[in-house]
Point group: C2
Chain length 558, copies 2
């Protein structure tokens, strides 16, 4: 981020401060901090999945540093819905303070509780419902039903003396939702009448023209594919997409097929959804996959994870014949999910693998088997018009999405000066209907890498990128600590470099000569001698191999 | 590839053998080998660009091993057009035998000659024109005009006593091509009347329904964007896309703007195209970019490379403010190109960077600024129907593309048994209108990596992947070669690992203990002692850090 860092001033009395700790300029690790009257309300606490320039990283967390000294001021954490990019970092927040009160809907709390159980944390949860109002410290909260690709999502209106804020969380405006639970546009209208001082809309699809199609369109396509398939049907989707799984179950039932769930997260989430009544399963339709092998091919559907080509997930393993279920001629595989940018190669490898095995592969590019969970431009216009907010901060998106959302706001008559395209760490203060940027914190990426949280640095990642592209050459000499003469070496070893190790024999005399020359000049410092070796071999490798591997020189005294 | 390897039998007298050395099951490194009467004709010789699981690799070549002992039998190399995936590997073929006669159209030969000049090779070229027939050894060649995203592309019909083969090269069927040069469907009809025994169609877009829109649709969009832009216009596209550059030049001219070309390959290719008359430039329209800085913003267009987000190309550098030209408010950037799968993250990073600088970014997703260069399903149906070939080998595509093309063939009445979905190295023999699979060679990937060709192995690439994901931990001890006692060490160094090096102090006593225990058991072999160190530290790192870095143990005797 290029913005200069400047600490915000102490918060004015009667003003509200919003500071995003994650989720702006990226799709993921959503976390917002609201401050008023010395107290803090947090909305969402999610993870971001790494890209290829962050190799080996498992997860990326919001930078929670601004909370570290103010944990006792936190009065609550609101979770808008149960997706990983909104709840995935909660265990790491609770490691700082375990008893932060968590507010969320029934399904959201069930999913976060299951996650926290795996982390051996018992959370302090409070169930809330759409339409409900509740005071949490100085924050008056009102929860509003919104429609998304997971049931039971909520927007939250936040009332303080500074004004009325509406934070949508993720949402879309499906007008024929599968569960009949619409985004509550009547509530939006009422809030608009009251006067929304600050609106923070999900802007992920703000650059997509028109309207997100209804989820209901997908059912008939799945049904038709199933009815045409003579063998097994395998459907892959996100493990949290209850509505999509519902449509698969319904289509299976209509086609005289039973459904076996595959993948740990799929089984866990759908068990929760079924227990809580979000997933309706006709009696006898679900079957344990261990008992599914006796079922004839034309009477079974496997519902699995792995729609993004993740190498360890069920679908990739099937494509590699590394799973009990081996798709083949007569079988159909449906990828009923989006294709998240960056995953294309992995997904197409899976599609190719399945096609080679003889399976028919149906996916977004050749059939209507997925719709997005986010409001497109047309829907956002409805929201801007019905709310007529005084100020807008587009959230939940890359910079281009935030910009597109701001442009929609302008088109509905909201002034440019009242529209804030900001970065993580920018604080916006609100008072008397006026909003202004008050500061810019210096926030970073917090990497979860194996068991370590926050210890891996960008320098480490740069090392990994160099190692991954070029490999390394290590060069070691053992020197007599008294005389400074070479006892053994140089020993040269290379990994990930496009040559036999024998090629390095040619450079050894040069290294010895360079070390002897340095010794003659009285250089005895190990670091300086290491640098001499690095320069000598680095230059030679650059010229000779036209590569720039990491050079790892080491002088050992004996 | 899962297919078992089986050597083809000696070629029957009067039969033709086709063996693809690259381009099947992939988009890239197209190279086909035709054998008849003891002679060999090669069609195309291109490169493949590496994917993320081939880190650090510069280029991938076809495996030319089957040619190594038969270079004197090669009677010619036909180049269908001037794209890198069809000509990029020619320098490596000519290193094996420099005087192979090369046949191609005017532009194709100019482009390959310029490339070979950089490799200091003077090729033995022979200009051919559409409609021309020519005997090359026992092969009777006829060249047929085809329309593609580069001018002067040719299909080649190959006549021998074994029958008539039609090899399309890359093509589409734009019915309103910019240069008026249609794919010669009349010639296809005539060949169909004569009887095509084997048809090898470009199948890259066989899974795209309908028809590829005409290139002509793009001009008005670019024109309109230019006319609306108050500042500079920057257009990025492929460096070989003469038609696209033509449209940019025309639109610039119509809008009173001059055009500066940016990027070495763009300047080289367009200079050639202009010299040969493929690019028509109104007088005074092109300007050297070094002289472009005095031109007012609303009178200049920059035509650059970097449409795929390549980090070193002009467009990425502009987005990072690492280029003389710094886009900003009022400027428009047009990405007039496809988005090749796998490049999404890089491209979106560039789009975001440019948007942050204030530029308006127009790309495939929000405007019609690109059409494909390959025939879609509807066009392929025309070809199958007008040719009615006896046998079909879909080429130029991933497995799913080849399958889709074969399905189109079946729909037009070609028998499944006469449609061959094959892999690189599969040989198909043709005689008396019958074709059959005769063998499967064991071909691999040949990696160009810096100055090395073919020396980097899949094991090296696996090393790079491990290093890139996990980094490495090296552990070194110096031992007395006589007593077997430790003189110095263990020294432990780590790179790309998420811990301070100090953390490894804790494991040193365990390593010493393990080495001493081995010594007591009489183990003196360096390799065995290295393995002892590897196991000890590897287990500890796995449990403690939950990571699997490469462990590099080294025992040095002194």
């Amino acid at each position: 981020m290029s913005t200069p860092v400047f600490d915000p001033p102490a918060l004015e009395s009667g003003a509200l401060r919003f500071t995003p700790l994650g989720g702006l300029g990226e799709v993921g690790r959503n976390m917002a901090m609201y401050e008023f009257g010395g107290k803090i309300l947090i909305v969402d606490c999610g993870v971001l999945f790494p890209e290829e320039h962050q190799p080996g990283v498992d997860l990326i967390l919001p930078d929670m540093d601004p909370l570290r000294d103010r944990l006792d001021d936190v009065v609550g954490l609101v979770l808008t819905h149960g997706h990983e990019d909104h709840i995935g970092a909660v265990p790491y927040l609770l490691r700082m303070r375990a008893d932060i009160p968590i507010y969320g809907s029934k399904l959201t709390l069930a999913l976060i509780s299951a996650k926290l159980k795996e982390h051996r944390i018992t959370p302090n949860t409070h169930l809330v419902r759409e339409g409900e109002t509740l005071d949490v410290g100085p924050f008056g909260l009102e929860f509003v039903a919104v429609n998304h690709s997971i049931p039971d999502a909520l927007a939250v209106a936040i009332r303080t003396d500074a004004g009325l804020v509406l934070h949508t969380g993720d949402f879309k405006m499906d007008q024929l939702p599968l569960d009949g639970r619409l985004t509550d546009l009547r509530a939006f209208a009422r809030l608009g009448e009251e006067g929304v001082d600050l609106f923070l809309p999900d802007s992920t699809n703000a650059d997509v023209p028109g309207f997100t199609p209804t989820e209901r369109d997908i059912g008939p396509v799945i049904d038709q594919v199933m009815s045409k398939t003579t063998g097994r049907v395998i459907v892959a989707s996100f493990a949290s997409h209850v509505h999509r799984v519902q449509q698969v179950i319904d289509a299976a039932h209509a086609n005289g097929r039973r459904v076996a769930l595959l993948g740990r997260s799929m089984v866990r989430n759908m068990t929760i959804a079924q227990q809580l009544g979000y997933l309706e399963v006709p009696a006898g339709t679900l079957v344990d996959y261990k008992k599914s092998h006796d079922i004839p091919d034309n009477e079974i559907v496997y519902m699995s994870t792995g729609s993004q080509g993740e190498p360890m997930a069920v679908l990739s393993r099937m494509a590699n014949l590394d799973h009990v279920i081996e798709p083949g001629e007569g079988d159909t595989v449906i990828l009923a999910s989006s294709l998240i940018p960056g995953n294309e190669n992995a997904v197409y490898r899976v599609i190719d693998g399945l096609t080679k095995l003889g399976a028919n592969v149906v996916h977004k590019a050749n059939a209507k088997v997925h719709v997005s969970g986010h409001a497109a431009a047309g829907e956002l216009l409805y929201c801007y018009n019905i709310l007529r907010p005084k100020n807008v901060i587009p959230v939940h998106g890359e910079f281009r999405h935030l910009t597109a959302s701001a442009q929609l706001a302008h088109q509905t008559g909201i002034a440019e000066a009242a529209t804030f395209i900001i970065e993580n760490g920018t604080s916006i203060d609100l008072k008397d209907g006026e909003a202004w940027a008050s500061g810019q914190l210096d926030l970073g990426f917090v990497y979860v890498d194996g068991s370590s949280v926050g210890t891996i640095t960008d320098a480490d990642l740069k090392d990994r990128r160099v190692l991954g592209e070029e490999g390394f050459v290590s060069v070691i000499v053992v020197m007599d600590s008294k005389t400074g003469r070479i006892i053994t070496g140089p020993e040269i070893h290379a990994r990930g470099v496009a040559e036999d190790e024998g090629v390095f024999d040619k450079i050894k005399p040069k290294i010895i000569a360079a070390l002897e020359e340095a010794a003659e000049k009285g250089v005895r410092d190990n670091h300086a001698l290491s640098q001499t070796m690095r320069r000598t071999i680095g230059r030679w490798v650059g010229q000779r191999l036209r590569r720039r591997p990491m050079i790892v020189p080491l002088v050992i005294e004996a």
